[in-house]
Subunit: 234 residues, 2 copies
């Protein structure tokens, strides 16, 4: 973004200015080790003065970092909120499209958020990131009609979410190949496969899988995968 | 470990002493934030003097931390090395047994290794941990008879390895429930399911899955899961 694209200093509302500072900070934290980012850098990137940054974030870099992490976390959490209608694997596909679009648009920030290992990372920021995972898992389970999952189903969903994160980071490392729709398709297939495998040995998962299957259509991702599997292993 | 169990000061070989210091350091790093661990703490835990620790690790805490991470990484990498004989999912099961036994025995150190977020974590230690993942993936692919995997198969295996890590950490958080053999069984099932799903849409994976299937026996984990799935979704 060129600095000429930044609206003039006094035109922003308090909320807009705060968002702008957070976005600038998260972008910087994504491109450099957070210990190498100063309040001056954030001010320069946002085209404002250093005192203005401190007016919004009196706690300095630590507060700015935590707020930026929290903002990214809320954004990512929201991406998993899709309407509870249609085939469940299609809903998952839509949620992933939205999640991966964030990863694509905020690549450096996403990497910084999840790769951790920085001096300003704290148990609070770890907890925020973990909160995103929990929330995503809860939303996935809600779409499966499971309110209080047992250990196995719960670990299965968390394990899938961990693999979404890992695959997203590897995708960034790999120059964003394959194209997003393909990556999203793979991840939805992974979920379907894990659910089926879990259903094969766990009654709660079997019930959830049967319910999901009853809502699938001929063209929904889960049904398409299962048809392909049965034709491969007749 | 009580200090009375530590062999007397002069009885250890250089290699034994080095290993003892590394084990003490990794244990401490696992139980406290690394920035709260001092060389004095390591010396006290190992029952030796501070200068002795510096004689082995002149670079101080940073060097000790990196060496401890490298030691743990080599140990974990070795756990995935199982003989290339028998049903592939049984080999995977054996490798996981060995890997999870490490997680169980070195719980705090494993958590410290993977949770990161510490001031002494560096790009070098990140690279070491990433090396474990790469090596584990290569070993898994070798057992599948795949020397140069395409993007999809490669990402599938990496995604499974990420989920093994995540599930291991959740298992530690969950007071080590379920019992290890059950957890290991779930993770092997996850792998089988992911391979089948990938095989359904990718020729290279289909070839690897067919080869693996031809080596399975009636009682091997992969075959048992597939039989259960086909009886569940006839």
């Amino acid at each position: 973004m060129s600095s000429s694209a930044v609206p003039a200093y006094r035109r922003m509302s308090v909320e807009q200015r705060r968002e702008q500072l957070l976005a600038a900070a998260l972008d910087l934290f994504g491109h450099r080790r957070p210990e190498d980012v100063s309040i001056e850098d954030v001010a320069a990137a946002a085209g404002v003065s250093r005192p203005l940054v401190y007016r919004y974030f009196p706690g300095g870099k630590q507060q700015l970092y935590e707020a930026a992490v929290l903002g990214a976390a809320e954004e990512l959490t929201g991406r998993f909120a899709v309407p509870a209608e249609g085939p469940p694997t299609q809903r998952l596909s839509d949620a992933l499209d939205s999640y991966l679009a964030y990863v694509d648009a905020h690549d450096a920030a996403y990497g910084a958020l999840l790769r951790g290992g920085s001096v300003v990372g704290t148990s609070r920021t770890d907890a925020i990131v973990d909160g995103v995972r929990r929330s995503a898992a809860e939303q996935v389970l809600r779409h499966l009609g499971v309110a209080e999952p047992g250990l196995r189903l719960s670990l299965m969903v968390r394990s899938w979410i961990a693999s979404v994160e890992a695959v997203s980071l590897l995708w960034l490392d790999n120059g964003k190949q394959p194209p997003l729709p393909e990556l999203r398709g793979w991840l939805v297939d992974h979920f379907t496969a894990l659910l089926v495998a879990t259903a094969a040995t766990e009654p709660e998962a079997a019930e959830a899988a049967a319910l999901a299957l009853s809502q699938e259509t001929d063209e929904s991702p889960g049904r398409v995968l299962l048809d392909r599997i049965t034709s491969l292993f007749p």
